[in-house]
Amino acid sequence: MNRHSPGAVLLGVLLALLLTWLVVYPIGIVAADAVRGVDGFTLEGFRAFLARRNEWQALWGSVWISLATVVLSAGIGVPLAVFFTRYDFPGRRVLAQLVALPAVLPPLVGVLSFLFLWGETGFAARLVQRLTGSPDPPWRLQGAGAILFVHAYSMYVYFYLFVRAGLRGIDASAYEAAESLGATRWRTFSRVVLPLLRPALAGAALLVFLSSLASFSAPYLFGGGFRVMTTQIVSTRLNGDDRLAMVETLALTAIALVGLVLVRWVDADGIIGGSKGAPPAARPIASRRARTVLASIAWLLAGFLLLPHATLLLVSLVPLGTWTNEALPPAYTLGNYVTLVSDPVRSRPLFTSLWMAIVATAGAVAIALAIGALVVRRRVPTARLLEWLVALPWAVPGTVFAIALATAFSVHAPALLRFILVGTPVILPLAYLVRNLPLSGRAMLAGYRRLDPAYEEASASLGAGGARTMRRVVIPLLRSSLVAGATLAFVAGFGDFVTSVLLYTYDTRPISLEIMGSLRSSDVGVAAAYGVVLMCVSAAVFLATAEREPGG
């Protein structure tokens, strides 16, 4: 397949243009708007940004919170991964799965459950108040500490999952070789295991850094006076200073890109899992007492990690206005769920989110499949560009992306390829599609790279044309990658808050906005019920993908 067919080349060019228009162009417009004054070019926006102390504070806040989140998440996730991979004790398999459960809470839902659990009027605070008899809440869940707490809870999972996968990829013979060469356990870990884990660690660190840099829900609800860039952008925009908002957007983008480049540079000569084979079996803990103690600690930990989920479920059963200052809600009902289904005003966001996420996912998967074929198999001239364009939305924080789309597509200038999409039902599905394209794109590119080209050649040598080969051979063999990519994109779109909050209209109000609305009107039961729905959908999807994972 060394020669490109004209059709493939054309499709490659068209897709590159489409993605450039949807990803690069809007950010370019933001950059242009940041330097456009009444009479042409101006650096006024930058001057204002640099001169203001609170801008610097927000920028610095974003950076240090993100770095601290990386350190904290690694500190929790890596030891857990090593522990659950290397040591065997009763209940290990179940616990190893439970520990990953914070992943099923979409960011806004996680924040919501933390509010109910650890907030100043949450369960924990009430319990302490009851025990001490104090009339004042013992703490306030606010500021940098609160943000870090939420971040570490929800993001250590990346380190945990990546490192566990990395450890599973190290063949038992690597440990045995080190041991036979006289290495101590520590030396084996530091000289053999850690270097082999470097790609996993770098990948997790980058993911946590970018997620935490882009994090909006946690600082929005718990930040208080503490400033980070994402919330700063939204408030600047609400205050009407669009040019400054553009400059802030660019500053946040720049930091994300610096992070991306740094990690790529550190991991440039990353060792691609050299060994194939079986990892060593988990070692049973010999001492009975140690086994019991460790198993108990592990169960306690799992219980602690599951508290937010349980809290959410509990609050979702609280009828409106019945819970005031008791430690536990006095009354329970399924009424909130009934409301979600029976009240058209309440059920509408559910269906809105559902159709938008489905449309966005279908589009993203179709584009990802085409890009996989064009980049990996056809190696069209635009291959590198396509791969880069597919990865880019991942590095761009959601707030930035939403602002860029809102800016680019709120003007009617067909000659400049700018159309009014903001305020129409098109903008949110489109935003979800492009923003979650990296998830399905990465899955498809990886799937295609693992797929032996001999299958397609075998199909061709048996007389099957391109379409038949795609339908009968490629798609069935890529099924696990397709499912993985699609489910990740679907979950992200279904629970999205950060882009929706900037782009929604009344008609396209998604679940996340409805949660915020219910919360504002103190209808915590309904807010929690929405949260439980989101949590269950995510959990179902993760369960479905986890089962398929071992397949090709």
């Binding site: 060394n2 050649e457 199909s459 040598s461 048996l462 044309g465 038949r468 063999l477």
Partner: protein
């Protein structure tokens, strides 16, 4: 091109960047003939096969079937069946669906497909295994399913890419015999790629030896062994070690070889295949073309350096006076390691003495 040529490669050339993977390769096959492409790794044999299959497009040259140029035809329309090195059986389809795949692609009627699938499986001794999953098959069975799948649509040419390399050695020999029987029975024109001499010799009617993208020699196994065209062929096929010699031709056609460090061998005409060489030359002598003959006139003096048991006769490594090494086949016990010996041409006129110009490679 001979009129009975069925398949022809005409000046096929394929380069990857600066690297010439296949360099003006021309070969012809008669209908029903089996040709083995043999060569070390990187010799271009797999690329040549992929050019034939249509997975690669040549930079120059043509592929012809019955004198019709098929170079521009995509693989899907060439009607060449291929067995892949790792079989590439579709893991999501069962055995029957794999074999039916090609028949469906050419639009065969459903009833016909069922019958032809079971026939194809019968041909490879796997009758009745239609509903088996690919993962449940042994390596040998997978190899035969791959063959059945390739043969089911009745291709014009069968291509085999290292068809036995994935099998363990004990299974390999048996599968090789079975493979040969199936190919002969069907009488299909076949090109196979291999780096194993035994495989090439047993399966191929003729063997084409490739090096660095170029054809070194094509012929029957006996041709390649008995009349190597180049020193590379002489050393790649069978054993032979180079020794620089001076060639003197007597008026009667008798040939004398003067060896470095002493030794003067007289060869009968049937013992050498050295063409018209005179003066300095390089001799490639097969172990069985030499004998140990201590104290005989004209023997080249040397010392036994190694001994390898190889069945009926053993292989003695001998270092000649100026350090050149040769191998001599002789009965076990003829000499000991460290013993001084003389080396002479074997008395039997077996051939196996190949002379090349000193600069030839």
């Amino acid at each position: 091109m001979a009129p009975d040529t069925f398949l022809a490669l005409d000046q096929l050339t394929r380069r990857f960047g600066e690297h010439l993977a296949v360099d003006a390769l021309s070969l012809t096959l008669a209908r029903g003939e089996v040709l083995a492409l043999l060569g070390p790794s990187g010799s271009g044999k797999t690329t040549a096969l992929r050019l034939l299959a249509g997975f690669e497009r040549p930079d120059a040259g043509r592929v012809l079937v019955e004198h019709v140029d098929v170079t521009a035809l995509p693989a899907a329309r060439r009607r060449f069946g291929m067995v892949f090195q790792h079989y590439a059986l579709f893991p999501h389809l069962d055995v029957g669906q794999n074999v039916a795949f090609g028949l469906e692609a050419i639009g065969a009627p459903a009833g016909d497909i069922r019958r032809r699938v079971s026939e194809a499986l019968e041909q490879v001794d796997l009758a009745g295994l239609e509903r088996r999953r690919i993962g449940e098959l042994s390596g040998g069975q997978q190899q035969r399913v791959a063959l059945a799948r390739a043969l089911a649509p009745e291709p014009r040419v069968l291509l085999l890419d290292e068809p036995l390399s994935n099998l363990d050695p004990t299974l390999r020999e048996r599968t090789r015999r079975e493979l040969r029987e199936v190919i002969r029975r069907i009488g299909i024109t076949t090109v196979l790629v291999t780096h194993e001499q035994d495989e090439a010799f047993e399966l191929g009617d003729r063997v084409a030896l490739l090096r660095a993208g170029r054809l070194e020699q094509v012929g029957t196994p006996a041709d390649l062994y008995g009349r190597p065209a180049t020193p590379f062929v002489a050393t790649f096929i069978g054993r032979a070690s180079p020794v620089p010699v001076m060639v003197e031709r007597g008026v009667t056609g008798v040939l004398r070889l003067r060896l470095p460090g002493g030794g003067l061998w007289t060869l009968t005409p049937e013992q050498e295949t050295g063409r018209e060489i005179e003066g300095p030359a390089t001799l490639y002598a097969r172990p069985e073309a030499l004998r140990l003959g201590t104290g005989t006139d004209g023997a080249a003096p040397g010392i036994i350096t190694s001994l390898r048991f190889a069945g009926a006769s053993s292989l003695f490594g001998v270092r000649l006076a100026l350090g050149h090494e040769v191998e001599v086949a002789a009965p076990l016990g003829s000499a000991q390691v460290g013993e001084s010996v003389g080396i002479l041409p074997s008395r039997r006129g077996l051939g196996g003495m190949h002379l090349f110009a000193p600069e030839a490679r």
